[in-house]
């Protein structure tokens, strides 16, 4: 199955082009996939095609997208919703923003197709409050699509009604957690919900809800337009298609690069991002946003950026957000900066997360200052263990992994700080 007037395989417009206008998007094949899907493809067949593509969620967890959709109840009850997760806040991550700012209709088209495939009434794009440009671009795109009959009642004369609303968050990382997002969208604090029930059964306003990330949904038009096989033609067996890698830190050309999953990390750092500053070597690389276990230089140089390969080296793909730390940086500082992030962003519900994130931060600052001892390193390990796997949502695990893996993989550097010795990289490292 493929659509004649094809949507581009890539999520982002080439070079630095911006396709925010509906006309420009349509000139590039935009909404053709949606039109074909809605006019002539059975909803179940759309889901099958997405399933065949092997598309996995691009928000961090990598869950199979079609499988997520399949959890919706089969009773046909309405209304049901899509919550589109545009609360991109994982440090290091800025990829969804590229789509929303430069190609917002691609997201809308993905939501439209997914909405048709799953008999959805409305989609809410929950965009983080700080993303002003993305919010404005999405609002304009929705208005334009509405005016053109691509949203609203009886779309493409099919009898299918569908609305997309853009909803602004207000600066809370936890709202990127799927049930935290739903709480927030409903007008409450974004504190994650206990599961069960799961969102597919009881999500927004206790109605069946599927929740997908911006990039995930934006792949759907490409899959429908070009076929699952074309999507699978790039990437690896279990990590198909392209993704937008964001790379930042100590590289020459930080930025967002859309590349096949499975691209060697080395290639991303040294070819796409222009390598390191002259004379520097890699010390550590965070491969998937700061929540994912940090890699040593050796691991980083050998790994490819896909789910299986990263899991094999004891990390995870996460959001594909790469942060490179070179040999002049202090990793205890890096761990402390990250620990502060979780401390500030913990929603405060679960004991381990509320108290553990703060304690980890204090312990890391103490070690960084040189005042730490071996007992403090032991405390970091214990607190990380207490925090992992014991809370309502994954923020606590992420915080535990971040601190725990920095210590585990770079223990020597932590020990070098202890007993009054202080930071060995003080002269060269970034400041906190």
């Amino acid at each position: 199955m493929s659509v004649t007037a094809s949507a581009p395989r890539f999520l982002l417009p080439p070079d630095s082009e911006i396709w925010t206008s509906l006309e420009v998007y349509r000139e590039h094949g935009g909404y053709a996939a949606a039109e074909t899907a809605i006019r002539s493809i059975a909803p179940a067949a759309i889901a099958d095609e997405v399933k065949a593509s092997g598309l996995r969620g691009r928000g961090g967890a990598g869950f199979a997208t079609a499988m997520k959709w399949s959890f919706l109840p089969k009773d046909g009850s309405r209304p049901r919703y899509i919550a589109c997760n545009a609360d991109e806040s994982e440090p290091g991550t800025f990829k969804d923003r590229q789509i929303m700012e430069r190609n917002p209709h691609r997201l809308l088209e993905g939501l439209l197709i997914a909405g048709f495939a799953s008999a959805i009434d409305a989609a809410y794009i929950y965009v983080r409050g700080e993303y002003r440009t993305a919010y404005d671009a999405l609002r304009r795109a929705i208005a334009d699509a509405h005016a053109a009959g691509l949203l609203g009642k009886n779309i493409f004369g099919s009898g299918f009604d569908f609305e997309i609303h853009v909803h602004r968050g207000a600066g809370a990382y936890i709202c990127g957690e799927e049930t935290g997002l739903m709480e927030s969208l409903e007008g409450r604090k974004g504190q994650p919900r206990k599961r069960p029930p799961f969102p597919a059964i009881s999500g927004l306003w206790k109605r069946p809800t599927i929740i997908n990330n911006v990039e995930t949904m934006s792949h759907v038009p490409g899959i429908i337009a070009n076929g699952a096989a074309a999507f699978r033609a790039v990437g690896t067996e279990k990590s198909s298609g392209t993704t937008i890698f964001g790379i930042s830190g100590n590289v020459q050309r930080p930025g967002a690069y859309e590349l096949p999953l499975g691209t060697p990390l080395r290639e991303i750092i040294f070819e796409h991002a222009g390598g390191l500053l002259p004379g520097r070597t890699i010390k550590a690389v965070i491969p998937g946003g700061v929540s994912m276990p940090v890699l040593t230089a050796e691991q980083a140089m050998a790994v490819t950026m896909d789910h299986d390969a990263l899991q094999a080296v004891g990390s995870l793909l996460g959001t594909g957000a790469i942060i490179v730390l070179d040999d002049q940086q202090c990793l205890v500082r890096a761990a402390a900066v990250i620990a502060k992030f979780y401390r500030v962003e913990s929603c405060g519900q679960c004991t381990q997360c509320r108290e553990g994130t703060g304690w980890l931060h204090k312990l890391l600052l103490k070690v960084e200052s040189g005042a730490g001892s071996g007992a403090d390193l032991e405390a970091i390990e214990d607190v990380a263990r207490f925090m992992e796997g014991h809370t309502i949502c994954g923020l606590s695990d992420a915080a535990a992994w971040a601190s725990g893996w920095f210590l585990r993989r770079f223990r020597g550097e932590f020990e070098a700080h202890l007993e009054g010795r202080g930071c060995p990289h003080d002269a060269t490292s970034f400041e906190i």
Partner: protein, 166 residues
């Protein structure tokens, strides 16, 4: 009256998008902050609660939870410096220090006339163009260099003077 008619109408216009009025809460708070100097005053909390037909304590709770909402006055130009890892690695600490020197206030403080305030914030999602500063809720200022700060502040002063017709 804490909210203008126009503001109330803007809030009401959001109701049809949702099955419950309460869902408009974050949106309403954004509208109020944008129009009323960057923070949510107690009488605005009551007014929003009335519009949305919820208990005012639920509004206060939400204001207190989200980092972007303020229950205290902030500067007319609220300068938010991202200090997360990628920005720290590209000089965010220096930017905070630079703003402290230029404005004479520390993060969390406001200049005496209420013109500026500075806040350290967590990842703004612009790591590829670090370090990043956001003024109020405007588009990000990317790849900000220490040397840019003086002109940034001067530009904001000029803009404000123009806005108040001085």
């Amino acid at each position: 009256m804490p909210l203008s008619h126009e503001l109330e109408n803007r809030i009401r216009a959001e109701f049809p998008k949702y099955p419950e009025k309460r869902a408009v809460l974050l949106t309403a708070l954004h509208f109020v902050q944008e129009e009323q100097g960057g923070w949510v005053a107690p009488d605005c909390i009551l007014a929003i609660a009335g519009l949305l037909e919820i208990d005012p304590i639920d509004v206060k709770e939400v204001v207190s939870f989200y980092h972007m909402f303020h229950d205290h006055a902030v500067g007319q130009s609220h300068l938010q410096v991202c200090t997360n890892l990628s920005c720290s690695m590209r000089g965010a600490r220096g930017l905070v220090r630079g703003l402290e020197e230029i404005l004479g206030v520390r993060p969390g403080e406001m200049t005496p006339g209420g013109e500026f305030s500075v806040e350290e914030v967590q990842c703004l999602g612009s790591c590829g163009s670090a370090p990043v500063v956001q003024v109020n809720n405007e588009p990000f200022l990317e790849n900000v260099a220490l040397a840019d700060l003086k002109s940034l502040v001067a530009g904001l002063q000029t803009r404000r003077r123009a806005a108040v017709g001085e």
